[in-house]
Symmetry: D2
Subunit: 364 residues, 4 copies
Amino acid sequence: MSRPRAREAGVRFGSLSTGKKNSIADVAGVSVGHSTLRRGEGKLVVGEGPVRTGVTVVVPHEGDLFRRPVKGAYYSLNGCGALIGALQIQEFGLIDTPIGLTNTMSICAVGEGLVRYTMDRNPLAGVEEDTIIPIVSECDDSYLNDARGLHVRPEHVFEAIGNASSQVEEGSVGAGTGMVCHDFKGGIGTASRAIDIKGSEYLLGVLVLANHGNRNDLLVDGVPVGRLLDTLDPKRKEMGSIVTIVATDAPVDARQLKGLAKRVSMGLGMTGSCAHKGSGDIMIAFSTANVHDRRQTDKHIVTDKLLVDSEISNLYRGVVDATAESVTNALFKAETEKGRDDQIAPALPLEPTIEILKAHGRIE
Amino acid sequence: MSRPRAREAGVRFGSLSTGKKNSIADVAGVSVGHSTLRRGEGKLVVGEGPVRTGVTVVVPHEGDLFRRPVKGAYYSLNGCGALIGALQIQEFGLIDTPIGLTNTMSICAVGEGLVRYTMDRNPLAGVEEDTIIPIVSECDDSYLNDARGLHVRPEHVFEAIGNASSQVEEGSVGAGTGMVCHDFKGGIGTASRAIDIKGSEYLLGVLVLANHGNRNDLLVDGVPVGRLLDTLDPKRKEMGSIVTIVATDAPVDARQLKGLAKRVSMGLGMTGSCAHKGSGDIMIAFSTANVHDRRQTDKHIVTDKLLVDSEISNLYRGVVDATAESVTNALFKAETEKGRDDQIAPALPLEPTIEILKAHGRIE
Amino acid sequence: MSRPRAREAGVRFGSLSTGKKNSIADVAGVSVGHSTLRRGEGKLVVGEGPVRTGVTVVVPHEGDLFRRPVKGAYYSLNGCGALIGALQIQEFGLIDTPIGLTNTMSICAVGEGLVRYTMDRNPLAGVEEDTIIPIVSECDDSYLNDARGLHVRPEHVFEAIGNASSQVEEGSVGAGTGMVCHDFKGGIGTASRAIDIKGSEYLLGVLVLANHGNRNDLLVDGVPVGRLLDTLDPKRKEMGSIVTIVATDAPVDARQLKGLAKRVSMGLGMTGSCAHKGSGDIMIAFSTANVHDRRQTDKHIVTDKLLVDSEISNLYRGVVDATAESVTNALFKAETEKGRDDQIAPALPLEPTIEILKAHGRIE
Amino acid sequence: MSRPRAREAGVRFGSLSTGKKNSIADVAGVSVGHSTLRRGEGKLVVGEGPVRTGVTVVVPHEGDLFRRPVKGAYYSLNGCGALIGALQIQEFGLIDTPIGLTNTMSICAVGEGLVRYTMDRNPLAGVEEDTIIPIVSECDDSYLNDARGLHVRPEHVFEAIGNASSQVEEGSVGAGTGMVCHDFKGGIGTASRAIDIKGSEYLLGVLVLANHGNRNDLLVDGVPVGRLLDTLDPKRKEMGSIVTIVATDAPVDARQLKGLAKRVSMGLGMTGSCAHKGSGDIMIAFSTANVHDRRQTDKHIVTDKLLVDSEISNLYRGVVDATAESVTNALFKAETEKGRDDQIAPALPLEPTIEILKAHGRIE
């Protein structure tokens, strides 16, 4: 029996409506794919395992991203983490490769995979056309995974992209396989909101790779569930990171997308995070509107239709609420994982959690 | 009968201890002063009132700040607001005048007051020594106040500094006189935390000028009190701003202080804000440690004793929790205010709020 | 006899063509106005003078800027200086008041002048509409001026705006009255370039308030004229600041304008600056293209026609060359000024300078 | 016969003294190593060559950098380029791996090499201790090199580090093998300055990987040599990038190092660059002072002795001049290189260049 998502269990996150799938893939064209590496048990033997890691890719649209990039931005709440491609995102306000997520010391393997994938689709890149800078971020899964073994290889990127679909798998999967969140098993979570702006509907989705926080701080719908749960003490000393990706079809540019990325902080605050030192809290945001072919060299002007700033607040609200829901979904969906040296990340105990929420009037 | 602070009413904000006064003035040397301008009633006559505004100053230490500046940083979550002095804070990582808070169009009056005040104490400034750039931030109180009347003048800065003490008055006072928060009366709030780092105790305090948010979003200890209260509909259409000041005696430098300032976002998230467009969300942080005399020109090296980054997390937790408590204190302490054109910002109804919190298991 | 501009004396700055007036006012709609305060001689008596200061305003277009702001950005190479309005420029990517320049401790007087001027033109601002945050930057003229006297008052802003025209006066005028550049008399300088992009012509203009550098470092067209001139030793110990304003009619947005602002650094490098500590090096850039009425609230989308990034290089080249020319124009045009306590900023000696340039093959 | 460095040919860059070697390795402990990949000729066959590329590493000190990181900062003048590790440098103000330079699409190979090298020296990294994020930047050498062939592999990092010494080879070597600068052959250049601050001497060195600019813009000591040279027309249409590394033993922290990094822009301006679009202009700066063991967990405070800001100007001057000299050295030292498809980057013709400089009075 699969575990429920938070909303299926009755938890609510604000008053905006979700998209149909309540996932980042509610934004038309966005797909997500995983490559999960899970093998071996018991004592760590570097290079042999146990392996609890993987790759997750978020693909902004099905076309040739290198030729038709989407508007993009990033924000670093806490830079104890890596984002290959950060400077170029900032400079041009664009995302021009799929976004790869993995464990910290595998960012280069994933980066090389994205370069090879993009070269395959662009035979002139690096000859007559520009060279390719990949976009990769990460969290540290070394509590469960043989991180020094560098088990992720470039081909896992091809596999993850091959698996990409609009049905987003959550929990202990892909890059999320070895992640721990508020001392429970974490990983991938997603949510979305349908945003009304003067009668037009826009979709906004969030996906997190959640590997952050300690138990004491965890809030579910404002209730300190972490402190109230009667469970074993957490073992992990280091507190990890969270990477968040925000997607929307609203016509916002890089400046506005950076504003969306910054609001992720507020959703993390709602679930109890304080972005501990040691935690890389990195946010990437993109919009699928106003996509242009950048090889079209006959004209020097493009036309963008852009949202006026005075109407952006509902997108901000959507980011905050969908972030809180995504983190909670990662916790609700992930199953207990035993990793290297038999270290365990226990699943969030669902029934006690729901009891606590009922006792606090948060679930009817 | 004075209204209680949130903690006096039984609300808790995380598990860290507060300082003795639970205010920014728990940080030794820090004082806060107000100059409150409240006169007139009824219909707005520009230049005549009604006046509902003022000045609040946060003074980092009692000595000559221009000569002995404190380490400082700022962060702009949402730059729909002003911070005179921002570039210089960023460049040198220092705060070298008292920090003035007021209404938006009075920042220049307050800035000139700070320049005059600092000149008085530094007779060579602007002749043989450097010129003075003041530090001023603001929120928009024009819902209640005759903002176009520019009633705040430089002398109110002298009055506010003269009033500065370690007993911080909260609510509808000083710069907070005309402010509205989550559609209730807002203004000044403060809180503090005592932070243990390897056996040493540091103090960290927060002060907010709260003028942001709408009722629908308000959370008190995680409970959507704004939606649950059975009160009149809010009238204010525009959603305002919040300025937050973080003070500590922990030995952190500008880089680390910027990290503290960024965490304020997460505390705002906990109280329901999404930093609406139109809201300037500006954070200033300073440390009273490692203060040097900058006219001491016989040597070119100073010695700083600095906190190692790996031990900073409790300060981050303290910022988040004390921010949430400060916003809530502003709401708990502020009395109903009727301003220009009889527009009203109603006080947060305390008894119904406490009933709701009890019903949700948040107050015993 | 008026002193010549650098180009009239035969100096060249790169290979791009200038606009017709070789000034920032070549960008259609841009005007510049000065209010010059020059009175008294001899020993400093604070509050009485001597006064050598003023206000300069750059007005992006003749219409209502508050209602129809231009795209804008700023960059701080060295933040030892003030820019009131910085956070709001960054947040919205807009300039919505005239840009005021003055001496350091008069920024608040100029800011209040801009607020009053904008209120006069917008009777609902601060009542039914947004409050006003002015845009003001500064350099320190206290070597020549009674800076502590705060002689600039809000009414000088009205005077400067009243004087604004497309004929830009250079040298020791307006905010430039008391400024010193590379130990010679500095002040206001301007230049422009006509930029061809795929057959379309765009104008780009630069204006500087030059108060920076020491004599030893000065380069004119690459020649170390400062070191080669046989003149009296400089007296000023402190090295000041430079504020640069870049205007263009090319359709660039805030992200691209920040790129233009950053290139100013390279033009300053060409004239010998290293942005000494103590020097605030602040750049503001705006584009007069894509102006929208922000009170037009019936629609939530605007249409911008934007330059593609791949065609922006000529604008960058134009900024660098026009910056170098503007600084040199400030030096060529400014007359010797004797200020407080008979301190002197000597004009750049033109004939020896031209002799040196001829000897180095830079002027025929 | 080896080509001379610029200073050996009589060119001067400002009035500060150089260090003994006039290289980045004048900063005690700093070493530089290259791994050069040069094989094949003629028509491009992807994966087979011709290969004109390599790796250059700058090693801040001989010890264990991961355990004893140096203070560091970066600045992006133009972010059309990659810097793996950027966010972590910004967050902690530290450099904790050697800095790797290579071609654009090889950053991940070099990053993986740095991770493996650091793991070898830190057997607990990624198990009990933190995971490793490498620091890598790049320029695009695809005009001469089979960039799509991804010929650089992680083992070349080990080779480059093995080759690291305090004798810095310049020109067409290591990462510089395939680089083109102002349409002449570019690559690696370096220079240094000895900086007196109140009687104490500090060393400051610069190293560039120069792959930027067009011929028309090239300035040598202020003279437009590029325009004055009577040579063949340049073929390369795309204008590339420049990565600059600044090292010093002056006791400056991350905030101050960012100031040094920003001044690189001004040195690039002096040599004629305007940071064309398509050019990634990335600067990294580090200080070897105030190094602490970050595993020393018994105390939470470290003591730093830091330069006061008022004495930093000579370091700024040093950065600007040494940057200009480093770029010129790259041009003076690099030999003509013929690469893929027989595309040629001609060496800067030295005798004509020197003739031009003599004719303009810049060399005696």
